[in-house]
């Protein structure tokens, strides 16, 4: 939500900008001015205000990086060398040479598949538990301290335990994603259920909704914004966890790709993979935020 509102306010401040100063002329020349000049002006402003700053900062960063790593004996490659070294990896994300030697697309897809499974489990179980816990003050008081402690356990700390339990690397990786991302979902959902205004409960009481009707007509829709806050944090954490888990369990996946590249000293490949991971994580976050925006209708606007 914060990102969405920030975006809305920036466009809002840009859009009405040209109007106050130029009111008189605009009224006089309205039909010809509007489509051509004024819109071009607005687009230029938008470009200068929103798109230009990140481009400049990225450019500067690359430039400084290039300067710092260009001297002989530099331990990390400069951007130009990263691109030339990893060119094959960048231009052809779909190659498949068998084994674990696959293109970026396949590596990322594999990792995303794991996140999809682990995170889906976490979402279903987390929302269900969160709703249950939110209904009961007793359960909240009893379980909250446990959750608060468990949620700070780093993803990798769960891995030995799950390997011991499952005796197989694949379900262990899924479990690590599950256990890492479930806490914020539980906690946010239960807080959302507790924060349902008494007014809504009164309305439900007056029209005598049954337990089940209260759940799906009042509790669930009223909690949706909280649930999606939890899901957003959760998907970010699960993407963190997958990379760490794959480094240890091996096989195809963007996490082990990095580890494999390190073992064969392909530093440039690692840097490209980092950029991919960052972009995918960003897109996952935006995806959940967008779904949340559509599902929660006007609730968040209150």
């Amino acid at each position: 939500m914060p990102a969405a509102t920030a975006h809305a306010t920036t466009t809002a401040t840009v859009a009405p900008g040209p109007v106050p100063g130029a009111t008189a002329e605009i009224v006089a020349f309205r039909p010809p001015m509007r489509p051509a000049l004024q819109r071009a002006g607005e687009m230029a402003r938008h470009f200068a205000g929103v798109i230009l700053p990140p481009l400049i900062v990225i450019g500067l960063t690359l430039f400084v990086w290039q300067l710092l790593c260009s001297e002989p004996g530099a331990r990390l490659p400069p951007p130009t060398k990263v691109v030339s070294d990893a060119w094959d990896f960048i231009v052809d994300p779909f190659y498949d040479n068998g084994g674990i030697d696959k293109g970026a697309f396949w590596q990322i897809t594999k990792s995303l598949g794991r996140v999809g499974i682990g995170f889906s489990f976490a979402a279903v179980v987390g929302i269900a538990l969160g709703v249950l816990i939110g209904q009961s003050t007793w359960a909240m008081r009893g379980l909250d301290p446990i959750f608060q402690v468990l949620r700070t356990v780093p993803p990798l700390a769960w891995l030995p335990l799950s390997l011991a339990g499952f005796r197989d690397s694949h379900p262990s990786a899924l479990f690590v994603i599950f256990i890492t991302s479930i806490w914020p979902i539980i906690i946010n959902t239960s807080v959302g259920v507790r924060n349902i205004p008494q007014d809504y409960r009164n309305v439900a009481a007056v029209i005598r909704l049954s337990w089940w009707e209260v759940f799906y007509k009042i509790t669930l829709p009223a909690t949706v914004p909280y649930i999606f806050t939890g899901l957003r944090i959760g998907i970010g954490l699960s993407w963190l966890a997958i990379v760490a888990a794959e480094m240890l369990i091996g096989g195809v996946g963007i996490g082990f790709f990095i580890w494999d590249a390190w073992n064969s000293s392909r530093i440039s490949d690692i840097i490209v993979a980092l950029v991919y991971i960052g972009i995918v994580g960003f897109l996952l976050d935006k995806l959940i935020a967008t779904i949340g925006h559509f599902v929660s209708h006007g609730v968040a606007a209150q």
């Binding site: 007014d199 809504y200 009164n202 007056v206 005598r208 006007g298």
Partner: protein, 266 residues
């Protein structure tokens, strides 16, 4: 023959640990069918508590409320409430907010088309039919409260409870809604119990004004019958002697005899 609505020796205490605070005591009141009764009193005098006991949202510590001879002990659509802050569900449209009540209350007795017509009928009654597809945050405060009234009316309550329904609105909107409520009351003949702390509102709308003493241990101080012919028009009443007398009587009660002590008000 039972009285239509009867409060019998209602008392209410809230307990917090060892401390028990008596909010209401010895409330006795009988309301006739079709009567419009206002409860007026200073903040903290337990008006809302009394309304919530009638609404079934609170259980009285002593005494009982009888509606058509039956004890009231849980919330129900026969005592629909118009809440002070409208309490519309923000994820539903204006239509949906009325429909959720209509579908639940008349789900068994009315067909789908009948329920749709009934929702639209009630939205038309409060002049909100044209905004039926808007969500609550897209309409003004006065319009939200209109929808709240439509939702309550749509349940066909035996008593309509209004908890400071216009308290959060500006003066012009409030006057507008008061006129609407008078019109609806004249058309449908509902029994209404309304909380207010606006003296003009109480005198303008009510058949009787119930004045509460200050809490703790608040009770009914005085009941004033308003003998003004209906329909009442606020412009004509402004110069009406009887209106002025009633208004003065309520003001006298509130500000001369039952002033809030400075300490309690803080």
């Amino acid at each position: 023959m039972h009285p239509y609505l009867k409060f019998e020796q209602i008392g209410m205490s809230f307990r917090r640990g060892q401390m028990a605070t008596e909010v209401l005591r010895d409330i006795d009141l009988v309301i006739d069918k079709g009567e419009f009764v206002s409860l007026i009193g200073h903040s903290g005098c337990g008006k809302s508590t009394l309304l919530n006991i009638l609404g079934g949202l609170l259980q009285s510590s002593t005494g009982e409320v009888f509606l058509e001879g039956k004890v009231v002990d849980e919330p129900g659509p026969d005592r629909a409430i118009v809440f002070q802050n409208h309490s519309l569900l923000p994820w539903l449209t204006v239509y949906g907010n009325v429909a959720i009540a209509v579908d639940k209350v008349f789900g068994r007795t009315k067909s789908k088309e009948e329920r749709h017509d009934w929702v639209m009928h009630n939205l038309e009654l409060v002049q909100m039919a044209q905004a039926k597809d808007k969500r609550p945050h897209e309409v003004s405060g006065g319009m939200k409260q209109r929808v709240g009234i439509a939702r309550a009316l749509a349940m066909q309550p035996k008593v309509l409870l209004m908890d400071e329904p216009f308290g959060a609105l500006d003066a012009l909107t409030r006057a507008h809604l008061q006129d609407s409520v008078m019109e609806i009351h004249a058309r449908l003949g509902n029994t209404v119990m309304m909380i207010t702390h606006d003296v003009d509102e109480a005198v303008l709308l009510s058949d009787r004004v119930v004045m509460m003493t200050n809490g703790p241990s608040a009770t009914i101080g005085e009941i004033l019958k308003i003998d003004l012919p209906r329909p009442r028009r606020r412009l004509e009443l402004a110069t009406d002697a009887e209106y002025a007398r009633c208004r003065a009587a309520v003001l006298e009660f509130l500000y001369a005899r039952h002033r809030v002590p400075a300490r309690a008000a803080a």
